[in-house]
Amino acid sequence: MKLTSKDILGMKDLSVDEIELILETAESFMEISTREIKKVPTLRGKTVVNLFFEPSTRTRTSFEIAAKRLSADTVNISSTTSSVVKGETIIDTARNLEAMNPDIIVVRHNCSGAPRLLAGLVKQSVINAGDGAHEHPTQALLDIMTVRQKKKRVEGLKVVIVGDIAHSRVARSNIYGLTKMGARVTVSGPSVMMPRDVDKMGVDVQYDMKEALRGADIVMMLRIQTERQEMSLFPSLREYANYYCLNREKLRYAKDDVIVMHPGPVNRGVEISSDIADGPFSVILNQVTNGVAVRMALLYLLAGSEVRNEQSAVEGGKNR
């Protein structure tokens, strides 16, 4: 079993078998982060470039830690420090990076489809770390991993995703991934935040959050992206919170053993109340821990995959 593509661009492209392979590999990597010496020599000599055209702390740090625990060298390029501000196009940036011969390029961009454009231009593996309102596959993978750890399965679970579904790449990737894995997904949020094609996504839509939460195994809260709110989809944060903030009263409608997830960073009191974010149902910090393991798994599975026509003479297990 191996990944079919040299790149990880979205959950839409991944098969169930590939998702399983990534998650199984990630589970095995969990142990490395608990060691005293948190490093294995697997990707020694490989270079991972983190190319971030959008601000990010969690995802970029997570990729960097993942690469370093596998002994790869990492280079971080963020839009504020790069030649993007000097007017270079992403295509030129990509060609120049390629000329320096890295092995994996991790890219985040505010334009949907930018990672795919890049992947077609360079021979290196490209990992999408979030593109516009399109996809954020590593977030969905770590979310599914967290669900599997807590619930021992994904199939048949009721997952409720609440917030700005239309503009959320986290929601989109999770919807693709979770429905592939057999979960029943319900989305909830103000009607202005529902994607136009929501009825084609294979999910249930329930505008009343309490109704949506009824019988939920998993609740995924989305961050209200205040930085993307210039179009002003609702009158005030307070009004939004009244209807869609996850608090103790609303959570009562979910199952007793519900788990609450959030991709971070949390706007306390807007989409989730503090007592829930820090409470016993919250697995927000497990998600962060799993994120490192998932990204290690992807780097491991992709590294060297641009090399074709080079088969090792020694196949797995024979090398005693």
Binding site: M1, K2, L21, E24, T25, E27, S28, F29, E31, I32, R35, E36, I37, K39, V40, P41, T42, G45, L70, Y300, L301, A303, G304, S305, V307, R308, E310, Q311, S312, V314, E315, G316, G317, K318, N319, R320
Partner: protein
């Protein structure tokens, strides 16, 4: 069809493991500060059996760990198809312990090299010893085993497989000509 020869049967394997258990105890003068670490996957089954024998002989439990050496292999960069990674589980400190690494077949020695590198990432063992069920020769690194179940001179065109009840339903060591076996 290839020539397939059973070189050790279930009883032979059991006797060899019993002898190895006694030799480990003799060399280390008991179980104090001793730990067994099986190399995935064949070595893990053998380590469990040896641990059981040691506890029967001495009446004391010996700590048992599991090591997956995939991440320490020296041929990863050549493989497009990545080997699956198993879980490593060493639930005790290795510092100042005498660690007996256990594997089914000793061949090139590269697996043992990787295993030693991995162990040293977990701590500083007082000593590392090596126990194998079969030593088939053809070393590519300066490595030798401390405890050997059976020395089995083989040609490079032959395949040596250790089949165990735990994974193959039957205990036997088989030698056959290359390319006909589904195990390795």
């Amino acid at each position: 069809m290839s020539k397939r020869k059973v070189v050790m049967d279930a009883e032979g394997i059991d006797r060899a493991l019993t002898r190895i258990a006694y030799e480990i105890l003799e060399k280390n003068k008991g179980v104090e500060n001793l730990a067994l670490v099986g190399i995935r996957t064949g070595g893990v089954f053998l380590a469990r059996r040896i641990a059981e024998k040691i506890s029967q002989i001495e009446g004391k439990e010996v700590p048992l760990g599991i090591l997956d050496i995939t991440l320490y292999r020296d041929d990863l960069r050549k493989n497009r198809k990545k080997p699956l990674i198993g879980k490593t589980d060493i639930p005790f400190s290795l510092d100042d312990r005498k660690v007996v690494l256990i594997d089914d077949v000793l061949f090139t020695g590269r697996t043992v090299r990787a295993a030693m590198d991995a162990l040293i990432d977990f701590g500083r063992p007082k000593a590392i010893q090596l126990a194998v069920l079969v030593d088939r020769g053809h070393r590519e690194l300066p490595i030798r085993a401390d405890f050997v179940g059976k020395n089995l001179p083989s040609s490079l065109w032959e395949d040596v497989s250790v089949n165990l009840t735990e994974n193959k339903g039957k205990d036997e060591v088989v030698i056959e000509e290359e390319g006909k076996s589904d195990t390795a």
